[in-house]
Symmetry: C2
Subunit: 385 residues, 2 copies
Amino acid sequence: MSITWVEFEKLISSGNLKWKISKDDLPTPALILDLDIFDANLAKMACHLMAAGKAFRPHAKTHKTVEIAQACMDVGAIGTCTAKISEAEVFSRAGLKGLLVTTPLVGAWRIERAVLLAKSQPDTIFCADNASNVELLNQAASAAGIKLNIAIDLLVGGRTGSTPGEKSVKLAQQIHTASNLHFFGIQAFAGPCAHTLGFLERKKASEQSMGQAVETRWQIEKAGIPCPWLSGGSTGTYNIDSAIDGITEIQPGSFMFMDIDYSIIGGQADPQQFTDFGFALSVIATVFSKPSAKWAIVDAGFKAFSTDRPFPPQLRCGKVPFRWAGDEHGNLDLTQATQSIELGDRLEFLVPHCDPTVNLYDRIYGIRGSMVESVWNIAARGMIQ
Amino acid sequence: MSITWVEFEKLISSGNLKWKISKDDLPTPALILDLDIFDANLAKMACHLMAAGKAFRPHAKTHKTVEIAQACMDVGAIGTCTAKISEAEVFSRAGLKGLLVTTPLVGAWRIERAVLLAKSQPDTIFCADNASNVELLNQAASAAGIKLNIAIDLLVGGRTGSTPGEKSVKLAQQIHTASNLHFFGIQAFAGPCAHTLGFLERKKASEQSMGQAVETRWQIEKAGIPCPWLSGGSTGTYNIDSAIDGITEIQPGSFMFMDIDYSIIGGQADPQQFTDFGFALSVIATVFSKPSAKWAIVDAGFKAFSTDRPFPPQLRCGKVPFRWAGDEHGNLDLTQATQSIELGDRLEFLVPHCDPTVNLYDRIYGIRGSMVESVWNIAARGMIQ
C-alpha cells in the first residue's frame, strides 16, 4: 500500500488521483476498466461502423457514465442511447447531445420529463409503440409549445414495440400528422438475436428480424412519409446489421466492456468464442478468509457481480472455480485450482454480464498499465425510472 | 397524478413529501415499504427475542438505511450489524452505536478504517478468523493507542471463520493476551441453516451448527478466558437459535422486509410457508408496452430486482407469471393471467431476495395505507468495500 486510506480519500475527493496509485491499492471489490483495451474496443467499433457507412450511437445503459459517453463521442459517435428517461436526464445535464431514449414513455410524469428534456436538448429522440401514447405525447408537446422527435419502437425482438407492417405505417402516419410531433424514423432492437449462439445462426436471425424493420421503413416511405432513420443492432450483431441496407445506425453497448455472456456467443472467425472485442471490464476482489485448504472466500458476491446469467464470474488469469456464497461472499474452490490462493490475495474477475454489474457500483476506475488514470462516477447508476 | 413531476422533485428535495402523494404517484420502478407490516415485523421480532432473553442486533446488510437502523433501536435493538467496513462507516457517521462488522477485515486499508471507526465509536465490534490478521489488528490498534473489540468469526456455515474447538480457543487466547485488543466473544453465522427447508430440518441443522459455537464458547471459558458474548442466527432460525442456551444475541435481517426466498422455507405452523413475518417490501412497476394480447412489458428487469434466486418476482395480488426480459424489462405472460393487464397499469411485485434488491435502489418509500409517509435514502447502498 503506497498511501494510507485517509490520503486515498483526500485524493479521490480532490479529483487528483491520476497516476498516484496502482490498481493493487484500490479498496475491493473494485470495478476497473483497462483503458488500453477499452480504447481499442471503441476504436474498432467506430472504425467498423464508419467503414460500413452507419452512424454510431452507443447505448449508455451499459456504462451509465458521462465520461464514457463523452469518450464515445470523441471517436465519432453521433449521440448516446439511454434506456430510461432518468438516465437521459443525467447525460442531458452533462451537456451531451444526440440522446435517444430507447423505451416508450408511458405515464404522465414520464411524458412531462420528456418534454422538459426536449426543451433543453431539442435533438433528443423518443420512442412510442401505440396510438394512445402518441396522442398523449402530442398533447404534452402542444401544451409546452414544442415539437418532440418521435420514432416508432418496432416489435422485432419479442419485447416492446409496434407490429411491423401496416400497423406501424398507420402509427407513422399519426405521428407525422400530429401537430407537435416530428416523425423521426424507426427504432428496432432485436434482443434475442444479440445473444444467438453461432455467427451464422445469429446472422440468419438478425437478418430476418431487422429485415422486417427495413421492410417497414420502405412501406412508410411508400405511404409518402419520410422515414430517413432506422436504428438497431447490438454488440452481437454489429457486423451483421451494419451490412444490412436500410439500417442507418447501430446502437451497441457491451462491446466497450465485454463480459462472459458475450464471449461465448461465437464469432465470425471462431465459432466457440467471440473475440472481436477485448475484456476491458473486471472486478478486483480480495481473499479475506481461507478457513481450509479446500476453499477460500473473496469479498465479492451477489452485490458485486450481476447474477442474471447461469454462470458465475471467472478469474481473468488462472483457473479457480468461483461459487456464489452470498450477498458479500464468493467461494473459490481450491480443490480444482491451478494456482495457490492465499489470504490477502487480490484477484481479478471477468463479469458474467456487464450492464447490471456496472449498475452495482458508484465509480469505475480507469487503469492504464497497472496505474489508476481516472476515477469516474457512474452518474446514472440506479437511474431505472 | 395529483401533482406534477416538477412539484414532486421539489417536495423530495425539501424533505417534505409526507402525506402529499399516494404510492400510485411514485415514479416506477419504485421500492416501497408497507410501514404497518414493517412495524409489525419489527415488534414481533423484538418481543420474541426479549421474551427469550436474547439481545437483538439486526443486520443492516438487508436495509442499508440509517432511518431503519434507528427504527430497530427504537424497538429495543442494542446495535446494528454491518457486513462491511464501508457500510459501518455510514451508520457511524449517523451516530449509531453498537456496530458489529460481521466479516473479517483483511488488507491494510480495512484495518486502518476499523481503527478510525473505533476511535469515533469505541463500542464497535470487529471479527477475525486467523492469527496473522489478529496480529496486524493489534499492531494497528497499538500504533493508534486504542483498544479494538475483536470477536472470533467462527466457521459454522461453510464460509468464513476459524474452526470450532481447540483452534479457536488458541485464537481467543491470542486476542485475549494482545496488548491492544479486547476479546469480545464469538460471532457465528450458519448461512446454510437460514434457508434449510422445513422447520424441523432447519432446527436440526441450526442446533448442530450453533451447538458447535456454544461448545467453543464453553471451551474458551474453561481455558480461563471470559467469553460472555455469542452472536448468530438469522430470520430463518430466529425462533430456533433464540431457544439455544449459550447464544446471547440474534442478528436477523430479512424478517423486517421479507421476500419470496424466505417465504418458502416453511414455518413451525405451516410446513409449506413461512408466515411469521409479513411481506413489507415490494416494487411497483408500470406496464409500458402491450404489443400483443399474449404479453405485456413492465419497466422492471435485472436492474430492479435481484436475480440470484431461481425464481422471478411475483405479483402481490393476482396471478400473472413474470419472466425476465432484460436489464430494464419484465414480461408478463397474459396467456396465464388471472386478471386483465392494460397499458399504464401499475403493479406491485414481491421481490425474490430482499438484500440485493434493496441494494439496487437509492431510496425507499415508506407507505402508510396508500400514502407516502417517508422517503429514506438507502445511504449505504453500494457500500460493499
